[in-house]
């Protein structure tokens, strides 16, 4: 174990952590606004991955341009999913929305495995690597990290500076009061689900540029997103970003000290521990 290895692990972990943060923000926005845990989160990430893959491989599009298209597609997909599967169960007990989003999960995975099988694919595109002193980081990772930061900034701009964003926050805060103020809550809920899906698919697209993908890979990132949102406090986007960084750092640094197979043990152990000790998360609101 040397300082160089630590530093490399730190940078790698930080960069991937931003990407995890974007995925987790998608999950946490949906939960914060409508108290729905979106179990279709993983497959939606996978759609994002394959969206970028297909656009790049068959249309020869630049993957970073493809991510923008995938993000716009994500908004539409999310709104469709909201109206078909979520809208009717929005006020039902949690089990109903868990199961209805899980049914969406099954449909996406079912069709996805039929078309793509479960074998691995690769986006063959690489930016030049960057070296700084003893460490070298691939260009794709740096780009992914920077785009993730940009997405976060845009999200915050949207939530705090635009009218629909403020509506989303109002509905998250108190739906009935928001309705009384004349906010069309159904449309805002659909929009929030769309934004959540958009973030998930964007994260998927970013992951596709740095790691091999397959249709089931989304499931791994879904579980990671659960860990992250619990770390950061359910319903708190900034907490999700910081949680993502923590998780990224764990993945970057732990393999230096322990076998890499211990990483999930630590992640999920931490997850259960945080739920027990401080279910409102590290940065969550106190009143939940």
């Amino acid at each position: 174990m040397s300082i160089d290895a630590l530093l490399a692990g730190f940078v790698d972990g930080l960069l991937i952590g931003f990407v995890y943060g974007v995925a987790a923000m998608g999950l946490t926005i949906i939960f914060g606004v409508m108290d729905v845990i979106n179990l279709a989160h993983g497959p939606l990430i996978a759609i994002g991955m394959f969206g970028v893959y297909e656009l790049f491989t068959y249309l020869g599009m630049n993957p970073y341009l493809a991510i923008i298209l995938v993000a716009i597609g994500g908004l539409l997909v999310g709104i469709i999913v909201y109206f078909t599967a979520v809208h009717r169960v929005i006020d039902a007990p949690p089990l109903s929305s868990l199961l209805s989003t899980f049914s969406v999960n099954m449909m996406i995975i079912g069709v996805g495995t039929a078309i793509l099988s479960t074998s691995a694919y690769n986006v063959n595109f690489s930016l030049p690597a960057v070296s700084a002193g003893p460490i070298t980081v691939t260009g794709n990772r740096i780009a992914a990290g920077l785009i993730a930061i940009l997405v976060t900034a845009l999200l915050y701009g949207f939530l705090y500076r635009t009218r629909p964003g403020k509506y989303i926050r109002a509905v998250a805060n108190n739906r009935q009061a928001a309705e009384l103020m004349g906010i069309p809550s159904t449309r805002i809920l659909a929009l929030a689900f769309g934004v959540g899906t958009m973030l998930a698919m964007t994260a998927g697209g970013l992951i596709a540029t740095i790691l091999p993908i397959n249709i089931l890979a989304g499931g791994t990132y879904e579980l990671k997103s659960f860990v992250i949102v619990v770390l950061g406090g359910l319903g708190n986007p900034l907490g999700a970003l910081i949680g993502g960084l923590i998780l990224g750092l764990i993945e970057g640094l732990v393999p230096i000290f322990l076998k890499v197979t211990w990483v999930p043990v630590i992640e999920f152990g931490l997850f259960v521990l945080i739920l027990l000790v401080m279910p409102q998360g590290l940065f969550g609101k106190k009143d939940s």
Partner: protein, 320 residues
Amino acid sequence: MKRFAGLLISLIVVVILAVIPMISGSAATRESMFTILMAIALASSLNILLGYTGYVSFGHIVFFGVGGYVGFFTLTQLGWNLWLSMVAGGIAPAILAYLLGKSILRLRGAYFALATIGVNEAMRALVNNLDAFGGPVGMTMKFTVYKDYGGATQALWMTYRMLALVTIVVVVTSYLVKKSKFGLGLMAIREDEDAAEVMGVRAPSAKTWSYVLSAIFPGLVGVLFFFKNGNIEPGDAFRLQLSIELIVMVMLGGFGTVFGPILGAGVYQQLRKSLLTSPIFKNVQLAVAGLLLLLIILFIPTGATGWLRKRFPRLRRVLE
């Protein structure tokens, strides 16, 4: 007699299902019925927590895995016989559920559901790293172990009969819980936990015991399943997918009823089998199952048994 009508229907269905392969004597029928009985036992025990107490456990399969691993370990590494292993494989998940019950059952709704996923994944990852349990490749049983039970054929039939027995015990337990004061307390917790506590239900301990009860049987089923299988690995033992399929079965049949999980498990397994063997749906069987689930959630949220009870009031006396 009339008092027990609700139990009788469920029992008759399970016994008929269990006896079919014994009469025909065909190994293929036995194997497919093994899957169905296993699903019934697992879904019914999940129903004690999910249906009666109203806590959604997404990682219930962790008890199946832990029971299976403990049973398999004692069988192959310590050389215990199947009966002792079953005792161990039942006690281990019960202890785990008790400890978890004391801790994560304090969480409500979505938080509890997430925690159960975490527990399952943590356990899978942990077992993956434990060399005593064979790590990621798991453990394999020597074929000679079956000799103690009269050879492989005999051993497989015996495992099947044991599973049938366990399934019947689960169904009876499920009925007894539902009809007891303990069960009434659980259902009060399901409807409104705070109100239940005001009415004198000791919610923390009632919840814990319902969790323990719903954990023992998956452990026993796990021991039998992996004894039949002859090998065990983390991916098979802690399969989150199966855990969620169990919830689907309970919802399909009607949660909070004794008959519901039986109906749901039977129908779901049959459906899966016919979708898997049909040339059109073979590749998209998961998608078809998902669509079906969505339709049920959206339009028949009480499941088949709940719908029947509502539609035909006469059935209320016989369908519990």
